[in-house]
């Protein structure tokens, strides 16, 4: 027994070491994939350590096997089946389930053991329940919004929601204080319900496109919930790992906010940005307010491409919606065959999640070295013959540089307006995520090619093929 204790505890130490290495490695491109494997290995080790220590009986093994089979299989299938473009949604779903797990553990302990529980135990249970429930319901709402299942109700944009949320928080607090009186009373259900509603109330008002930030924050919460569960069952490993993930998630949330030029506070309490509430259709801005728009056909665009020596594609959210990445790659290959230099300008917040464009283009086997980050490609636009903007809008909006009254003001953008010729492929003059007009469309060197990104790209391919 003493040997197994020592062994399981050495395994625990090793697991934490590997988890730390994993988290660290995940933040570097080179090591990310192996770091992910390392972290998975660490989790496996931790389980082995625990089983060596606790030695489950036959009945326990049965339930463990059942839980493992169901959860593991479901996770595996979900992860393998989900399309790459639905990534943030799945992450939200997984995260919510993590919160649910902490919640269930705390509930079980509260139901059966709180009679002899001390203050520390009560506090850990309460924290675990509250944070677990918020993580669960908040993550599901985030997922629903990203999928477009849930709209942003009008009332949530007013000040009234703060009142509602504060009231919910107060109810949860009261229930928490009443909890030690007895687990059988209404305190525990009240706590669960109030926390769950609070998770919904806090997440619902936030615009769909801010969701990645919210998910990252909820992810940090689920770390906190795990650490609290660690206090509940008295496991240092759980406390360390939970605290580590909680803190790392907080930093990542901050980093993501910075990359999107928003502050965490404004994401959380500012409501949906502009009109693009559900994050699926550019809402406000409409087609009004534009004059001097030049539009042209795919044929004219193809002609310009034939004569170009250097072409830059700017992919945006619309390219993802149209699932046009493969067609784009086909077009690029044709251009390369005719000797044209092709690259892709990747804006850090193009699309609806960080790295969205990288994932999208990687799916179509675009060579990595052709993806050029914003800072690297901006100086090259003046010597670029043709820029094709594919379903991007905000990330090429020159007003961000020049108009202090624009909501985008201050965000670095791709300076496509400095190139010789720009074609903007989109379905209409509708606005992008930020819901504002785009001065680029009116510039003399810009021509609009209206249509679905995939359809337009397809006709460009056809044109180039027939020309060759």
């Amino acid at each position: 027994m003493a040997l197994s204790t020592t062994l399981s505890w050495a395994i625990d130490l090793l697991a934490v070491l590997l988890l730390a290495l994993g988290l660290k490695g995940l933040s570097k491109v080179r090591s990310a994939r192996s770091a992910n494997g390392l972290a998975a290995l660490a989790m496996g080790l931790a389980v082995v350590g625990l089983l060596i220590q606790e030695l489950p009986g036959p009945q326990a093994w049965l339930w463990i096997a059942a839980g493992t089979a169901i959860g593991g299989l479901a996770g595996l299938l979900t992860a393998q089946r989900v399309p790459m473009t639905a990534m943030p949604e799945v992450v939200a779903l997984f995260n919510g389930c993590g919160g649910m797990a902490s919640l269930l553990v705390a509930l079980a302990v509260a139901l059966f053991q709180s009679s002899e529980a001390g203050l520390v135990e009560i506090v850990s249970i309460v924290v675990s329940v509250i944070v677990g429930a918020i993580t669960f319901s908040g993550s599901l709402v985030a997922m629903g919004k990203l999928q477009g299942w849930i709209a942003t109700p009008g009332w949530t944009q007013g000040q009234v929601r703060h009142g509602v949320n504060i009231a919910l928080a107060l109810v949860a607090l009261v229930a928490a204080i009443a909890l030690p009186a007895g687990p059988a009373g209404p305190a525990l259900p009240l706590l669960v319900v109030a926390s769950t509603l609070l998770g919904i109330g806090v997440t619902l008002p936030i615009g769909g496109a801010d969701m990645p930030v919210v998910i990252s924050l909820l992810n940090s919460y689920s770390g906190v919930a795990a650490a609290a569960a660690g206090f509940v069952v008295g496991s240092p490993l759980l406390i360390v790992a939970g605290a580590m993930v909680g803190a790392a998630g907080l930093i990542l949330t901050q980093v993501m906010c910075t990359a999107m030029n928003r502050s965490l506070l404004s994401v959380l309490f500012g409501g949906a940005l502009g009109g693009g509430g559900t994050g699926h259709v550019g809402g406000g801005g409409d087609e009004a307010g534009y004059s001097r728009i030049t539009s042209c056909s795919a044929e004219e665009c193809a002609l310009a491409l034939e004569g170009a020596e250097r072409v830059v594609f700017v992919p945006g959210y619309g390219l993802a919606v149209a699932q046009a990445q493969h067609t784009l790659r086909e077009l690029a290959k044709l251009l390369e065959a005719q000797g044209t230099e092709v690259s892709y300008a990747i804006h850090p917040v193009a699309g609806r999640m960080p790295g969205h464009m990288n994932v999208l283009l990687a799916e179509a086997d675009v060579p990595y070295e052709q993806l050029v980050e914003m800072d690297a490609i901006n100086p090259d636009f003046p010597r670029t013959d043709v820029v094709i903007v594919l379903g991007a809008n905000d990330v090429v909006n020159p007003d961000a540089k020049t108009d202090p009254s624009s909501p985008l003001y201050g965000m670095p953008v791709l300076e496509v307006d400095r190139s010789r010729q720009v074609f903007v492929v989109k379905r209409s003059l509708g606005a992008g995520y930020a819901g504002i007009r785009n001065g680029l469309f009116e510039l003399p060197q810009t021509a609009m090619v209206f249509g679905d990104a995939k359809a337009v790209l397809q006709s460009l391919v056809t044109e180039l093929r027939s020309a060759a």
Partner: protein, 103 residues
């Protein structure tokens, strides 16, 4: 009280370590890192396992434990697999760069 003191030490140090581990992250890695960290937060499955083992014959506890284990493992397995899928996309071309274009 003594156990709590040590537990809080561990909490403090774990948090500080977490804060330090993540420095600059390139935007490309935001989503995979989020997803990987999310998988790690499923570590709460250890609590579920403990619950099951200590449940004795109490069926409610066993059920709650198994349910929470399923949820946690859904998080862990799904999280790691999905992260790997994402990262595989970035790294696929790394060997191809050496051996010439793959397509």
């Amino acid at each position: 009280m003594n156990g709590l003191r040590e537990a809080l030490w561990v909490l403090l140090l774990g948090s500080l370590l977490g804060l330090e581990l993540i420095g600059k992250v390139p935007p490309t890695l935001h989503t995979p890192l989020m997803s990987g960290a999310n998988a790690i937060s499923g570590i709460t499955m250890l609590a579920s396992l403990t619950l099951i083992v200590r449940a004795g014959d109490n069926p409610v506890l066993l059920l709650l434990g198994a349910a929470s284990l399923a949820f946690a493992l859904f998080n862990v397995v799904g999280g790691f697999v999905v992260t790997d899928r994402m990262l595989a996309m970035f790294s696929r071309r790394a060997p191809a760069e050496r051996g010439g274009r793959s397509n």
